[in-house]
Homo-oligomer: 343 residues x 4
């Protein structure tokens, strides 16, 4: 069996989560997320966010969360702005367009949109022959594994206020972002700056589920209708309630994410010692080395990972992803192999 | 704790399913339903259906399955026909219209559409000022708990062929239908008559999941694109694979459904002995007695169930639902209470 | 050439309208309805409506006006209520569903929705498993040629206020309604009661065009974006401006409609004298007699009209439509023929 | 009055067209484009295209034609490819996304997409996490006034065949393209290469209207349903029939377009003599000079035209558009003014 660095959704749930599912399995509850577990999880998340008035909705996955939320917040002719690498733009099979909305890409650096980029898009879209920009979509961490600093988030909040944009944060890897080395953003910071964001469960310890937090009261009306209308409401809604409670009642969510980052740090350490170049520098649970084709092939014999990009110089970039389930042994094994590559 | 007859999705999964999830929890697999468990489950279901060429897709829930499949099969101006009580018409918050398609209701009896009803709708929709009927949606069992006989299904197949309609069967409660007393339809029968149908897992032993079987090859192209586009693709797709394997490898799926029906039979027995009228006669896991308001109130003190309808004569109908998790003790308790009501 | 009673859009435009188009044909203006003619027409219509703050938009046709307006006013899970005969429900090829919205039909009498019908639909749609009723669509005149009285409109306004509904009036035949015998509703009345309505030009003297009046300021934002987004913005927008100016600057619009009604009165007179039964009593420009098949055939030799319905007793209903272009000679000819039918 | 070069839809219709509208104005016909004029126009256009089996549909405008056709031809998860400057991408307020489809931009040169660009997009979109490219949208002439040569069109046809793409040609300015100096493409060439295209009437002599030609029989089914569903079917459909007959029965359509090009040639002549740089070289009816701000201001006193772009060096580009209605006097006046600018 190859050591597994292919993605952060390759296993089931963290054992603590599975245990809670087992313990509650035979209980009878009402459906559709109106049960006591779901209500407690929602309340707990509001508290952790410092936003008692927020709405929390349990979504079945990232694409579903993105498309239901964004289409709830925009009128038919309104558009979302994102980085060219934004998940909604590149990896959701046109789901948001499928709900009627154009996506406008803006200038970005290391996967992070810039205030100037946002401003330029808004300045170019002012009359009725073009869509009206209405929402800024960012991911924390980004699709390239990079993280917005608090100052960067504040600057984006400011440009959103200036341009009349909703700030939406895709948090599929929020745990990894908030616990990454050097990240100065807390969950409460994020909740105070975003109009809406989600806390990704699928990629950090749950079987599935993203906790969508709608902070801005103006965006809350009718959201359960939107979920059902969008095919995203689970009959056994309590599953997400039970799982998010398990993840947050002792803050294990962050411990799991921190572990994933630490495993990635071990891998980055091996790369640095071995003089392996980074395709994209990161502090989160995704690591992107630049390799020769021969090196990629050599590693592939021992490790499971993803080919990421072909570079103009003939080399390649691959992606190693760590998770709560990555063992220090496997991380060390990979680090050693990377260190040895150029010898 | 009241005995629970509120719905058939009030618990987690059958213990056999949970056990398989636990056993496989720490295995690494690829995502999005391309893992070995999902492939094995798909193959097994094709075999059980006697349709080796069919495609099987694991969907996260009934509304999601309905809306993604139906919008995949129809062009923008095409419409689905269903009974007035059809789930897509009454309980999905306009999800199918949300994907652009009108729903046309046709004459039905006991929740079952009639060939004449379908024919009449098609005859009334022939020019370009009206939608073009393209798909017949039925549920087996229906929303009223009734079951189509083999002869009825064949007659609907014939009218579909005559009118150029796709036959789609919502099988959220397929297990209960196929194992109900007097039902002469097998899974293979259904698979040979429908263009597409699904085997509901949520309401019969799984945490969630419906196995959509696309029998007609003309409808198969691009369906995984549709699932992703529709926000219905799970990262940990293997969960459905593992769960459906657990349900089908020893045909437990049908055993669980049969149990639910037997529990409902016990309840029906109590009603008959007590002279309680049926709002709708059924052989599946939903029982609809007619009660006085006082009787409803009396039962509500001891049992959890749903108020169904207010009748013109001042009486009411309520709904008792059984499942794999209903105990004979609870069923007997309810049967006795019903028997005693009119004394 | 048969005398023409097939519809009210069988000719070009009223000669006065054509003359104004010819006179202005070689003038240069800017496009998209921002020219001086369009602005003057909008202002004039606001004045005629007694609603200086209203927005007026020139739409290319009825279906386009209905679907763009209704989809602008509703969120994705919201639905429109209308009579079963409502044009959006029966003759627009699912255009509104095509923009994502379910249509709910309510009890109606002679094509007119009743307050009780509206209330009943709202009462049945209260949770997130069903759509949220948001808009009441009525037509003045209705699809059956009947007309709402002022008292009826006020009662509908009241139920809209009570239920949180937008009141939208399809005025494809508004001229005929407002000038019909016994109608006690003025344009100003209508404008003071509806949130939005339109003044149909296509069926009353123009080549095409409906003047949509958005009275409620809360519904006005971004509407030009909606028109363009919905494919309904004309490059030579000034055409509608010129045509509506021609129709309204001397109130000819109403004169043309009154003429159509008077021609219909002549036909109704012949029916009454001849003892011909009405399928639907009307005072507007549509007349629906009940005929035997032989009578229909006999009339068809001399007159162009539409077969409307097959009646259970073997007889039929046909439809005669008059317009600004119907001559008294033709109307008299038809009246005489109808009078003579039963002799 | 300033000489008018602002656009090619600033007047009404060519006098020949108006005359035909006047002559036929009081005739009675059936509606919705099923009248004899429409049928004759459709047949005539098929003949001119050398495609007797083609379907011709009269659309009310360019955006409406684009969005109805493209959404008819694609399944929900399929996408259109176009140049970054493609009209559907930049000037239709997200209309195509509003019908559910993502637009993918590809490499282009002078507004013209390249086969390599198309191929690269297709190569990057192969799995179910991304949209499936299905249609190539090009404009002839392009949004920058440039024209595809026959060889270029053939190369695009080849890449469409290779990649399984439908070739769609927006012909809003088709007349100007086909009659431009050096253009080696005929109407029959275009019709033999494209799966579907349209002949723009709005910008070349008609009040409105684009004749959509569906050459590929596989794309023809149900198109009248699509038009009605898309809000694009005119009650007085015969207007387009009458106007297109007027334009094509003596090939005036091409004469009008040639005139517009000749007027543009006069302007280009003035620029060349005056040493004015081209922002974009064209042979069609749009001319894009590079000016200083002072020059723009000076010209604006005498001529109506559009500001096009701010250039990095502080200069600007403006746009002069000619049409069938542009007089040689006005063109000469502008040419002289341009010639004199740098003196």
């Amino acid at each position: 069996m190859k050591a597994f660095f292919m993605n952060d959704y390759g296993e089931g749930a963290h054992p603590i989560v599975m245990q809670r599912l087992m313990e509650t399995n035979m209980e009878h509850t009402c459906g559709y997320g109106l049960d006591a577990y779901s209500l407690r999880a929602q309340k707990l998340i509001c508290e952790k966010c410092g936003q008692p008035q927020a709405q929390v909705h349990m979504m079945t996955g990232g694409t579903s969360a993105n498309v239901i939320a964004l289409s709830a917040f925009m009128r038919p002719y309104e558009a979302a702005i994102c980085a060219p690498t934004g998940h909604i733009n590149t990896h959701e099979t046109g789901a948001l367009e499928g709900r009627g909305h154009k996506i406008l890409t803006c200038a970005a650096s290391e996967g992070k949109v810039t205030p100037e980029g946002v401003r330029a898009v808004c300045a170019a879209h002012t009359d009725e022959h073009v869509v009206r920009p209405r929402l800024l979509y960012i991911s924390q961490a980004t699709e390239l594994g990079t993280v917005y600093t608090l100052a960067e988030l504040k600057a984006l909040r400011a440009v959103c206020d200036e341009c009349g944009l909703i700030l939406f944060v895709d948090g599929a890897r929020l745990g990894s972002a908030l616990t990454s080395r050097g990240c100065d953003v807390t969950l409460k910071d994020l909740a105070s700056l975003a109009d809406c964001f989600y806390i990704g469960g699928t990629k950090n310890g749950l079987l599935f589920g993203e906790a969508l937090v709608i902070v801005n009261p103006a965006l809350q009306d009718g959201f359960r209708h939107m979920i059902k209308h969008g095919g995203g409401m689970m009959a056994k809604g309590r599953l997400c309630g039970v799982m998010f409670l398990a993840a947050f009642e002792h803050d294990d969510y962050f411990a799991w994410a921190r572990h994933a980052n630490e495993m990635a740090d071990i891998i980055r350490g091996g790369m640095e010692r071995g003089g392996i170049e980074f395709y994209q520098k990161t502090q989160t649970n995704q690591v992107f080395p630049v390799l020769t084709c021969a090196q990629e092939e050599a590693l592939a014999a021992q490790f499971a990972f993803e080919h990421w990009a072909d570079l103009p110089d003939g080399r390649v970039s691959v992606r190693f992803v760590t998770s709560w389930a990555t063992t220090p042994q496997d991380a060390k094994l990979l680090a050693d192999a990377l260190e040895a590559l150029n010898r």
